[in-house]
């Protein structure tokens, strides 16, 4: 995937986010916030027997942070929690396929960090 195409994919996710919304019977919820810029992502998910059965997000922020949230939910929905161990920051950024500056990388990683915290139980639930 060329970087231009990857960028277009991201912009598409930004304009037409997937899994946008909340989940009534969520088991884990979290609102994560980037102190440097104020970008916000709120995640809700149902975790059952070590698997992310459903996940949705609501957010407000720049294209990178919101597109990334949309892509992340797509990526992890249905996956086992243990498989997340392999999803390092670096791998995730690489998968996105666009080269971001260090400042924007933090935007892209916001939802992944939120997800990790929610799973670790830092979020509120239900």
């Amino acid at each position: 995937m060329s970087e231009d195409i990857a960028y277009e994919v991201m912009m598409d996710h930004y304009r037409n986010p997937h899994n946008y919304g909340t989940i009534e019977n969520a088991t884990n919820r979290i609102t994560e916030y980037n102190p440097i810029c104020g970008d916000t992502v709120h995640l809700e998910m149902i975790i059952n027997e070590g698997r992310i059965e459903d996940i949705k997000f609501v957010g407000r922020g720049c294209s990178i942070s919101q597109a990334s949230a949309s892509i992340l939910t797509e990526t992890v929905k249905g996956k086992s929690i243990s498989s997340l161990n392999d999803l390092t920051d670096q791998k995730y950024l690489m998968d996105l396929g666009v080269s971001l500056g260090p400042a924007r990388e933090r935007c892209a990683l916001l939802s992944l960090n939120a997800l990790r915290k929610a799973i670790a139980g830092d979020g509120t639930a239900p």
Binding site: Y14, G38, R60, C62, R104
Partner: protein, 427 residues
């Protein structure tokens, strides 16, 4: 009249091109670029005079001490201080405000009040919040819709419990110029100490501490062409003399025994440890540079820049800019958004039922990122003023802030850049 293109020649960094493009630097409220004379002053100090001050009996140290104290006098004079002992060198405005909150705070008691405003920078909020643990109350005067301070609200919130009033002279987001003299008068009427956060005024307009009659002023060297790592705390000498010290260590003592210690006179009482002599001398060179231009000229130039931005913004669809429109109430800070960027609220987001980035909106980060591609540096985010963001109900803003090397052509390029960015983004 100030010629920004000529001024620009004095700043080595503008010789640099990034990806073949000239640098258009519009983040001056964050930090400013340095003229050659400032860089040279630091270099000259390290190459010819470097040594520790105040205690050495040898030539180098005597020279360095002399240069350091002359820098103090020069900076003190610049803000209208008539006693250089009232000028304490600190790292930056943040340290100055922490010093004040901590040292004044020692005598504050439960239910004493500190009055701030909703347009303060975090550096003039958090140090005061540290005092909440012992029962000190922090109040915030509100703004009016035009982005100026709501004086009625201010006056109603200052009571006989108010011991400290600390207000920014110029908002780093709205550009609002507060009436420091009037705020000082009201504060003193209520016998409150009046502190002015001069981080955004001392670099940009004539500031006279005597005329304002403020008790303390905080400012940063790096925002006024000077080096990083140096700033000023001005205090009325009689008040400073009574204030307990902040940090302890070398320089600031009179005697130290195992039983306890006594303090040196001001300003050394507040300068614990080896001072940043090189950067104090650098700041003094920055002051010389600014004096040579004239602070009235600086102010006039920035007014013209803002006026020009007001004229040109009209052609940008969906652009909303913040802050007062009257030029005499407005510094050279220009915050704006493309479309609405409300603060995050799940309920509200859900009702809108989608990210609702209507094509007309563009998040300030995206704005900054996009125009960076054209070599234009602006800031985006909360600008260390989260309570103000909450008050304005925005998540973030984009901000262009002007200084003496910025020209109208650069504002043209900013708006062209914005046009291009929204065009690229909008479909």
């Amino acid at each position: 009249m100030l010629n920004p293109t000529k001024v620009k020649n004095d700043f080595p960094i503008f010789r640099r091109k990034i990806d073949g493009k000239e640098i258009i630097y519009l983040d001056n409220a964050a930090t400013t670029q340095k003229p050659k004379s400032v860089i040279d002053a630091i270099k000259d100090y390290y190459e010819n005079f470097n040594s520790n001050v105040h205690r050495g009996i040898y030539k180098l140290s005597e020279e360095a001490t002399d240069m350091y104290e002359k820098a103090r006098k020069n900076v003190s004079d610049f803000i209208g201080g008539n006693d250089q002992n009232g000028l304490v060198f600190v790292r930056n405005a943040t340290e100055a405000l922490n010093l004040l909150a901590s040292s004044i705070g020692q005598s504050l008691k439960r239910d004493d009040e500190v009055l701030l405003t909703l347009m303060e920078h975090h550096s003039n909020i958090v140090p005061w919040q540290f005092l909440m643990g012992k029962g000190v109350k922090i109040k915030y005067a509100d703004l009016k819709e035009d982005g100026t301070l709501n004086m009625e609200d201010f006056t109603s919130k200052i009571t006989q419990h108010t011991k400290v009033v600390s207000v920014t002279h110029v908002s780093n987001v709205l550009g609002t110029i507060n009436d420091a003299k009037e705020l000082a008068r009201i504060s003193h009427e209520k016998e409150a100490t009046f502190i002015l956060d001069g981080a955004q005024s001392v670099p940009h307009m004539p500031v006279d501490v005597k005329d304002i009659d403020c008790d303390y002023v905080a400012f940063s060297g790096h925002k006024m062409l000077g080096p990083m790592g140096i700033g000023g705390l001005y205090g009325k000498p009689d008040l400073l003399s009574k204030l307990p010290p902040y940090m302890g260590g070398g320089e600031m003592i009179n005697t130290v025994t195992t039983e306890g210690s006594t303090w040196a006179d001001i300003p050394l009482k507040f300068e614990a440890g080896t001072p940043n002599v090189a950067d104090a001398i650098g700041l003094s060179a920055a002051v010389d540079y600014l004096k040579n231009i004239g602070m009235k000229e600086v102010r006039k130039h920035e007014s013209e820049m803002i006026l020009y931005a007001f004229q040109e913004e009209k052609y940008m669809e969906n652009l909303k800019s913040f802050g007062p429109r009257s030029l005499h109430l407005r510094g050279g800070v220009y915050s704006f958004n493309i479309g609405d960027i409300p603060s995050f609220n799940i309920q509200r987001e859900l009702e809108a039922n989608s990210i609702r980035i209507s094509r007309a909106s563009m998040h300030p980060h995206d704005v900054a990122s996009e125009i960076d591609k054209e070599g234009i540096a602006i800031r985006s985010g909360h600008h260390c003023a989260m309570p103000l963001m909450a008050r304005l109900d925005v998540q973030a803003t984009a901000r262009a802030s002007f200084y003496i090397y910025n020209s109208k052509e650069e504002i043209d390029k900013l708006f062209i850049g914005l046009q291009n960015a929204t065009a690229r983004f909008g479909h």
